[in-house]
């Protein structure tokens, strides 16, 4: 197991280096820079050019790249040109919002997806099966942003059941009211994700459960007189969870990639929204830090997948 982890970790290093070069080059290829929007007739052009020079934006790309990498190794992600704060502080504020939203969404997806898949597979061909299969076919076919907008307008703006912007109410004071307000702000976006994103989990698990039901080891267990309940939970369910487990790492990473649209629609101030804003304002330091963070997370997610799979299925480890 340790060998596998080490091997996967070593593979990550060249991937990371290549990724940083690509990310940096892509960011620099965009027209404009953080000072573009600051030009005004009452701003001295020489002052802005001096500030741009001091920020190192006039240096050649390789110089800027190596300075960026060097700073990262020293734990310095730089200051946001636009938001005037250390990028690490900004990310710290936004990551927690995105993580809580992502975990709640993911938790709800699994809470809804697994029981419905089990109910469907154990009652194959029944009304219950047809209902959940149809539900997932419909919800899976609608683009996410359409769902988000629909949910926001129905439950946010029309029924006024949930807040429509922000992560916490400005009127909430004290630990518990703030915590409650934060949770309240999470419910609508998390539910919007959960109710309409179970299709992949549902289909994977349902198919896997149906396949496992007729597997040799299940027949053997039954022949040995093992109870139906025990056969299902110990043999069928556990083995059927393998394909679900194989995507768990990517689901975790998906928290951040999916956040871009989700947070933009719901006006939720997380990493995804910060990323979009940093692109529009050419806030290189913030943009690069977020891209590096999500890229690294994707690589870690992939490594995590391999580790989980080898832990759940020892045959993979041996191979």
């Amino acid at each position: 197991m340790w060998k596998l982890i080490l091997r996967r970790f070593l593979i990550m290093i060249p991937q990371l280096i290549l990724m940083t070069i690509l990310l940096f080059a892509l960011a620099k290829m965009m027209p404009g820079d953080p000072f573009t929007g600051r030009f005004s007739a009452h701003t001295d052009i020489h002052t802005l050019l001096r500030l741009r020079r001091e920020a190192g934006l006039d240096d050649p790309w390789p110089t800027q790249y190596f300075r960026w990498i060097n700073n990262i190794f020293h734990g310095n992600l730089g200051n946001s040109f636009v938001l005037q704060k250390p990028v690490a502080t900004l990310l710290g504020q936004r990551i927690q919002n995105t993580v809580w939203l992502g975990l709640l969404s993911l938790g709800l997806v699994y809470t809804i997806g697994i029981p419905t898949a089990v109910a469907s597979a154990t009652h194959e061909g029944s009304f219950r099966d047809r209902f959940w299969t149809t539900y997932n076919s419909i919800t899976g076919g609608i683009p996410a942003f359409v769902i988000y907008i629909f949910m926001l307008f129905l439950f946010g703006f029309t029924l006024n059941w949930f807040p429509t912007t922000g992560s916490v109410s400005i009127d909430a004071n004290g630990f518990w009211p703030v915590l409650g307000s934060r949770f309240y702000h999470l419910i609508l976006p998390a539910l919007s994700v959960a109710l309409f994103s179970t299709v992949s989990l549902f289909n994977t698990l349902r198919t896997s459960l149906l396949d496992a039901r007729s597997a040799d080891y299940v027949r053997t267990a039954r022949a040995k007189g093992v109870s139906n309940k025990r056969v299902f939970w110990r043999h069928i369910f556990r083995n059927s969870m393998l394909p679900v487990a194989s995507t768990f790492g990517f689901d975790l990473v998906g928290i951040f990639s999916g956040a871009v649209i989700l947070e933009t629609v719901f006006g939720y101030p997380g990493m995804g929204r910060l990323f979009v804003q940093s692109i529009t304002t050419r806030d290189y330091t913030t943009m690069n830090a977020i891209m590096l963070f999500s890229g690294t997370l994707t690589l870690i997610g992939s490594m995590l997948n391999d580790i989980i799979m080898s832990w759940v299925d020892p045959r993979i480890r041996i191979k």
Partner: protein, 606 residues
């Protein structure tokens, strides 16, 4: 009222500061006297009786979070000016024409013979922690801007007119010799010694001196390099306005409470909450009656917003104009001079005029701007009252293809045999020009193609730069970098102007923002005349502005395109709301946030 700077306009990301200038009730002097029509009332007054207290909810419509920088010298975002308005107050009050007047937190007087300005702070002017605002606090703002260690981007050469400030900026002096304290640093009087007195001194936003103060004692211990991100300047600020910060959720919202140390009358409201909402959510939010005031709505949202019940839209002319710039030369970075030397048929004035007459500007504005933009006749917005010359006909009021054709023929641009295009006499080839049109709005492409069709009608072949629209960032790079590709012939520019009408920063021979690089002795002399010593006399200055605007029209080195109207929907539960400029004594007196009241506890839905 906050100082208003000139900004590139044209994208929502770089909204103007003009929205923050909403202050108290005033008649719309300029529009009342001219043909520029404001479709909205400037002031809304509810007939219902106001209730005691209440909290007003303000939505700031923006797709970027507010930075929350409270030190003016370090602030660079228009959004900040809007969301901080309830707590920030300029040192000086102004009238509806942006002229300084007495009665505000401080008064300013000028002595032209001694070349000094004396700022006298109110005795009861205090910071929101109860400490006194001192003369040193006023001087400290100059230190923050001029000392490069603080990293302010607001230093301009206009400030170098203050004796000793340029030396301080260059690190040659440790103090600013031209700023003195007749009553000591902790006193209430500050004297500024200038090298030259300027006519613009009496106008807010002139750029020659500052109109705010910062709490020196509170901030002096912070490392200059860390000041910009310190909690004292971002989440725990000291301010002088009618409200003070109660709580900030960074980037999202600010809760204000009454400032018990406010020098003026006790604010009527208990508090104000300001929240950032995205552009996409704004209209739906209005329909749900979530906020009292919506600041920063885009003109493309007006059609949906105007019919929502429970809101009244107030509006005023914006400090804004747009214009068509012709590329006539280059900016010499070594000499910092614009040189009009480009070999182009556009050097012929009649061709430039023909391009102006051939556009159907008024039709376009009518169709795509819902009456929120009107054709411009000069580069001076009408809100400047007598400085604006209404007698200049301009090129945008009505399309005149006949005039355009005759001008082109007169200038020697003859039709080809099939009369499908005109010939450039200098090359003998088809007259073809390149239009650097900007993207940004949903209808940018349609409008650009429409103009190209209009020009074709008079025989001018126009192609888009690189065959497509140009995004804002690329456009700014091309305009501000003299080494960038200059193979374009004309482009659209737009400015949110300062509240001081001088156009030297925009069109002088030395202005880096003179995008067309047109320079002439006559233009220099006219621009200088609006700023010289004789112009200290207001009537003389007005005449010089009129001459300047006539010259712009006659030479057509830019073609003024449009003026715009600011509009703000406010809920009918607000007792009085005004989009008037200045601290006007009519209706409500002083700071509009201090006098604001509501007539019910919940938002009005009708």
């Amino acid at each position: 009222m906050k100082k208003i700077s000139k900004w590139f306009a044209g994208t929502t990301a770089f909204a103007t500061l003009a929205g923050s200038a909403v202050a108290t009730v005033a008649p719309l002097t300029a529009s009342a006297a001219t043909k520029i029509k404001n479709p909205f009332p400037v002031t809304y007054k509810s007939s219902k009786k106001a209730i005691k207290g209440g909290t007003v909810k303000v939505a700031e419509v923006s797709d970027t979070p507010f930075v929350g920088q409270w030190v003016q010298a370090l602030s660079q975002e228009a959004t900040d000016a809007d969301v901080e308005a309830p707590a920030l107050e300029s040192l000086f009050w102004t009238d509806s024409q942006f002229k300084f007047k007495k009665g505000g937190p401080a008064n300013i007087t000028f002595n032209n013979s001694n070349k000094t300005a004396t700022i006298t702070l109110r005795k009861n002017l205090r910071w929101s922690d109860g400490s006194q605002v001192t003369a040193k606090d006023v001087e400290y703002e100059y230190e923050l801007i001029a000392n490069p260690a603080y990293g302010s981007s607001r230093w301009t050469d206009s400030l170098a007119d203050i004796v000793g400030l340029a030396d301080y900026h260059a690190g040659k002096a440790k103090t600013i010799s031209g700023i003195t304290y007749p009553d000591g640093e902790n006193g209430k009087v500050l004297r500024i010694q200038f090298k030259t007195m300027r006519p613009g001194f009496t106008q807010s936003g002139n750029g020659f001196f500052l109109e705010s103060a910062e709490p020196y004692q509170y901030l002096k211990s912070v490392d200059p390099k860390k000041l910009v991100s310190d909690a004292k300047t971002t989440t725990r600020p000291l301010t002088t306005g009618p409200f003070r910060v109660k709580k900030i959720v960074p980037g999202e919202s600010i809760a204000y409470e009454r400032n018990p140390y406010y020098w003026g009358a006790k604010p009527k409201l208990n508090g104000v909450n300001v929240t950032i909402i995205s552009t996409a959510q704004a209209v739906a939010s209005m329909r749900s009656h979530q906020y009292d005031i919506y600041q920063g709505l885009g003109n493309d949202q007006y059609k949906q917003a105007r019919r929502i019940k429970g809101y009244t839209i107030t509006g005023n002319q914006a400090l804004y104009f747009s214009a068509l710039y012709f590329n006539l030369g280059h900016y010499d970075a070594k000499t910092s001079m614009n040189v009009t030397d480009r070999k182009t048929p556009l050097q012929k004035t009649d061709l430039r005029k023909a391009i102006g007459y051939a556009r159907n500007t008024a039709q376009v504005l009518q169709k795509y701007n819902n009456g929120l933009s009107v054709p411009a006749n000069t580069t001076v917005p009408p809100i400047f009252g007598k400085f604006w010359d209404s007698s200049v006909p301009g090129y945008a009021a009505a399309q005149n293809l006949k005039r355009a054709n005759s001008l082109l023929t007169k200038a020697g641009f003859k039709w080809n045999s099939k009369k499908t295009f005109r010939i450039d006499p200098s090359t003998g080839k088809r007259l073809t020009l390149t239009y650097l049109a900007r993207s940004g709005a949903a209808n940018s492409e349609i409008i650009a193609q429409n103009y190209i069709q209009q020009w074709k009608k008079v025989g001018i072949t126009v192609k888009l730069y690189k065959g497509k629209l140009t995004d804002f960032n690329t456009w700014v790079s091309m305009m501000t970098d003299p080494t960038a590709d200059q193979s374009w012939d004309f482009t659209d520019g737009a400015w949110s102007t300062s509240s001081e009408p001088s156009q030297t920063d925009l069109f002088s021979a030395t202005a880096p923002f003179n995008f067309g690089h047109f320079a002439s002795k006559r233009l220099t002399s006219l621009l200088n005349a609006t700023n010289n010593q004789k112009s200290l006399k207001a009537s003389y200055r007005v005449k010089q502005f009129q001459k300047y605007q006539k010259y712009v029209y006659d030479t057509a080195f830019v073609i003024p395109t449009s003026y715009s109207i600011n509009w703000i929907p406010n809920n009918n539960r607000i007792k009085t709301y005004s989009s008037a400029y200045g601290n006007n004594p009519g209706g409500t007196k002083g700071n509009s946030w201090a006098t604001m009241q509501v007539v019910s506890k919940t938002l009005a839905k009708k």
